[in-house]
Assembly symmetry: C2
Homo-oligomer: 261 residues x 2
Amino acid sequence: MGLGELGSPMAANLLDSGYDLTVYNRTPSKAEPLVKRGAQLASDPLEVAAKGGVVVSLLWDSDTTESVVTPEFLARMEGGVHVCMCTGSPEAAKRLARLHEEHGSAYVEAPIFGRPEAAKARQLAISYVGSQVAKDRVKPLLTAMGAHALFDMGEQPGIPTVLKQLGNFLIFSAASSLKEGLGIAESAGLDPTAAINMLTATLFPAPIYRDYGKAVAEKKHVDASPIPAKDLGLFRQLAVEHGQPNPITLMLLQLMSPSNQ
Amino acid sequence: MGLGELGSPMAANLLDSGYDLTVYNRTPSKAEPLVKRGAQLASDPLEVAAKGGVVVSLLWDSDTTESVVTPEFLARMEGGVHVCMCTGSPEAAKRLARLHEEHGSAYVEAPIFGRPEAAKARQLAISYVGSQVAKDRVKPLLTAMGAHALFDMGEQPGIPTVLKQLGNFLIFSAASSLKEGLGIAESAGLDPTAAINMLTATLFPAPIYRDYGKAVAEKKHVDASPIPAKDLGLFRQLAVEHGQPNPITLMLLQLMSPSNQ
């Protein structure tokens, strides 16, 4: 369920690995390439749930995920496993885990680090929690979907979601700082490409600095996606809920607001 | 000249590599370990300048460096090379380069990336500019002082200083974001050490994330140094001079102010 920029290549990877697959997407046209490659098309979320089966969801957020996990959905997937890969809230992850447990199914929380290109290249990083039995069952599926690095974080729901939000916050912080910093440095005469080459060969040998730094240096247009603001809003909410200082989070949110683009 | 936390191990490296060395420091006691290992002690900056010799300075900032480069100093070091390694302003670097050229000596601007431990381990990164002749002459000295990676940025003064300020800004931004982010994530139940291990194995395989992340995760006290605020202030000044937006720089400066520690 959920054939967006990440879900589509991950579903294609599953087909390539020989798995039987039923796909659902709110806008069904996005499923066409997968149906051509052998996937069954479901016209309703309920149709992907089967007794003892595995459901993988990658929907917009926790609310959209919870709206799908209805009593009927839960009844249909008894004995099965729901692998939820969206970036939502840790509280919703706890609710969903409890709900599945109460209805005789398992919930594996497995948010993804990686862009669509990384999904295609099977280079995703996935941290996950769930019962040991459920994790053992879905581990080969996570690899088949494109996970290059898998991090078993135990059984406590909410943990991978917090980690995902933290990682996103650090990515947005690095990206915004690269934009601001390279702008200042270039105005003072520094060639931004030479700067990125030097910095990523020494202090910052990390993909985000290399890829985003190169895009900023070359003034490439980066499509404005609504996802960063959504994810960062979740992290800010977490900070507020726990009374933690969050001045950088707040500033990054302000920089992402449409009036600042 | 300048035997601080970085200058001292770099001077020791030079002695270890067999170079003759005269050292100067405003507080002479800091020179004692080097004198015991064979360095000559100068009681005045003028005493380190010799016709055709190489002077290496690593003073607090551009102002302290310019205060040393007096007409008498310039006259004494005719035919020589001044390797200036401080983090100053690009405008001062241009003035100093011009001044040396006018007095028959050369100026090599070579600010350093690396902490004292990296100096001891000869793992510094140094970007530098100057005339080709001067660079060829001092290159072996930079290596002997502890440079692991050398980046020849051409001949235009000011460029390595802007690069150094940009790199520092990105370091401070990453460090402050790690502190804020790990604080929020830990309050929401995530083990900060597990988080740093996962993030540096995937998205952020960079020394600053590994080392500073570990220090924050383990609640290690990091000595408050006045250097970050000084360096970040220079970057902010650069932004203002060139009319560039700098909201993150300004926020980091505010977070560094004593009232926020």
